[in-house]
Symmetry: C2
Subunit: 341 residues, 2 copies
DNA sequence: TTGTATGCGTTATCAG
DNA sequence: CTGATAACGCATACAA
């Protein structure tokens, strides 16, 4: 086992000073061609790699960006990560991923940990519990310390920073409009409780679509789910007593639960009821019937978030609070779970 | 914007030396009760947190473990991560996740990056391309540098290190035995090409199960898939011309493709053909019919890998190559996609 | 009880 | 052209 090679060791080995080695390796013109070659050859031979930790300490920069996510068993977040990784790697940045598991405490802990030198900035989607508590001091904290923060997906107006979101309301409206276009008359929605920002917005899109088509919303056709646990049963119960010909479910899980509920009730999808979801992951794509849905373009969201963050990181002066909110367009994907009457 | 508080600033503010502050904060008995209180109060008030980078440099330890994964859009890997995070956090370790995207180059790059000071050790599942090339120099490299490595899932005999695997062969055998138990006579397998270690092992389990029951394997009922791309079509073609009553598919994706292929052929699952998969994610759980499958216990794998790694990290002396391979038991999950004839 | 000096690995500045 | 020195933030052996 050979410990990692350092400048000091190279210097000793070659009988020159540390600073000479350092300069030679960075192609400084101060160093003679000869020494430079000698040093570089040696470094290459023994595969010298500078120690990132030392560099970070010296430069007060880590060239690392931290992603904090509520969960990862969710294709959407996985694709966002890919997007971030993509542009981060292009620009020579490293990526650290941490999970909050939707817990406020874990979110705070993770951010503190990363903020203490591990990371130059953050890309974050707010944990469910945090949205519920409306306690964002940890976000303000890192911003105050001069670490840029980019929020995506689950964002919050109170925090002044760059944001990348989709137009959830418009996306939902698009989904419901699709149901209306194919002839659905009694359209239900399966959504989350209102404190989940995206749930609330998608519910709003549902209402707007109905209104835009002169259909009056019926409270009885709206199901708001608090907890993923037990949602399947809740959805089945809900469907049992409603007579619907279209359903908009705000995520992949709810969509599949809905279809199962309908099947159990003896109804066929899309023959009797059309179902459209939100988010386009493996589940939507592989399910039978495959799910019509709204594509959130997670990779694009991640890529833009990374670009915004890196731009801000590399801007020499503090570009006076010119925070922007980028909106990524959603698109309708028509598959088997919806069909014209 | 206030830059982060350092020991030096506290020292200046309180008019004591840096080392006094340092000692006071670590409750050294060398420091008078009075000074200690004063320093701690100040630190608390201004929310002092030591700089991880400086600590890492000083201690030559990062208390961070790096996970390198082939992909993440895969519930299995997501659950492994949860397992790792769980025990890592318990033991005060941080987790960095990097993706190789199944590319050899990215795997090497990521490991080099992390090895240069970001991480004390690795938990890794080998990229597909790496297994194909059989080039593991980057793994030997980190081991040589004294950084422990724990391999999981896709492991390789050539590398001497701790490993956490499931018994893929036994798991596959269990799956096929289940098909046999419920009365299947003509059982096909949809698997990967042999250079994917787990694919090969699962194929072997399939063969062993047949043999154990006195059924002779039929080459014509074995489909080996090279690329995920286009696998759906390949599977459909395969099924079109075979007369089967049972199918073992080595992952969730293949299982669902198989079911779709059968449906298109006018066959019902499980009425006409029983299908069993491998790996238990959202897809297997939500699909209609829900998939009978082999549970890999990803969280358990992650937890064990983390424990092995941390143990080795904290072992004072180099415990002379007592590498161990832990085997996590798989279990059969019976759901709707298989039924007794 | 407190402070000074040293070192972790690197680079920048300045002196030789 | 080369090398000594200081600094990044922290901890610790050693001096006072």
């Amino acid at each position: 086992m050979k410990p990692k090679l350092t400048l000091k060791q190279i210097a000793r080995e070659l009988d020159v000073s540390v600073s000479t080695v350092s300069k030679a390796l960075r192609d400084s013109i101060e160093i003679s061609e000869e020494t430079r070659q000698k040093v570089k050859a040696f470094a290459k031979l023994y595969n010298y790699k500078p120690n990132n930790i030392a560099l970070s300490l010296k430069n007060r920069k880590t060239r690392t960006i931290g992603i904090v996510l509520p969960e990862i068993v969710h294709d959407f977040f996985a694709t966002v990560i890919s997007g971030v990784e993509q542009v981060a790697n292009e620009k020579g940045y490293n990526v650290i991923i941490c999970l909050s598991n939707n817990s406020f405490d874990r979110e705070v802990m993770n951010m503190e940990m990363l903020a203490n030198g591990s990371t130059d900035g953050f890309i974050l989607s707010i944990a469910k519990e945090t949205q519920q508590k409306k306690d964002y001091h940890h976000l303000e904290e890192v911003i105050n310390q001069g670490m840029p923060l980019v929020l995506f997906d689950r964002v919050v107006d109170e925090i002044k920073c760059d944001k990348v979101i989709i137009d959830d309301t418009a996306g939902a409206k698009k989904a419901v409009q699709h149901l209306i276009d194919i002839g659905c008359k009694r359209i239900g929605i399966i959504t989350t409780v209102d404190y989940i920002s995206v749930g609330k917005l998608r519910t709003q899109g549902y209402l707007e679509a109905l209104e835009a088509n002169g259909m009056s919303p019926d409270e009885d056709l709206i199901l708001k789910i608090e907890d993923m646990q037990g949602s399947e049963k809740e959805i089945a119960e809900f469907l049992k007593t409603r007579d619907l010909d279209g359903i908009f479910a705000v995520n992949e899980q709810f969509s599949t639960s809905a279809i199962r509920g309908l099947l159990n009730k003896g109804l066929k999808v899309p023959d009797d009821v059309s179902v459209i979801g939100f988010s386009d992951g493996e589940l939507a794509h592989r399910f039978i019937p495959s799910l019509s849905t709204i594509n959130q373009h997670g990779a694009e969201i991640g890529a833009r978030a990374a670009r915004l963050l890196i731009e801000r990181l590399e801007r020499s002066v503090d570009a006076e609070e010119s925070y922007q909110t980028q909106i990524v367009e959603t698109s309708l994907i028509e598959r088997e779970s919806t069909r014209h009457k």
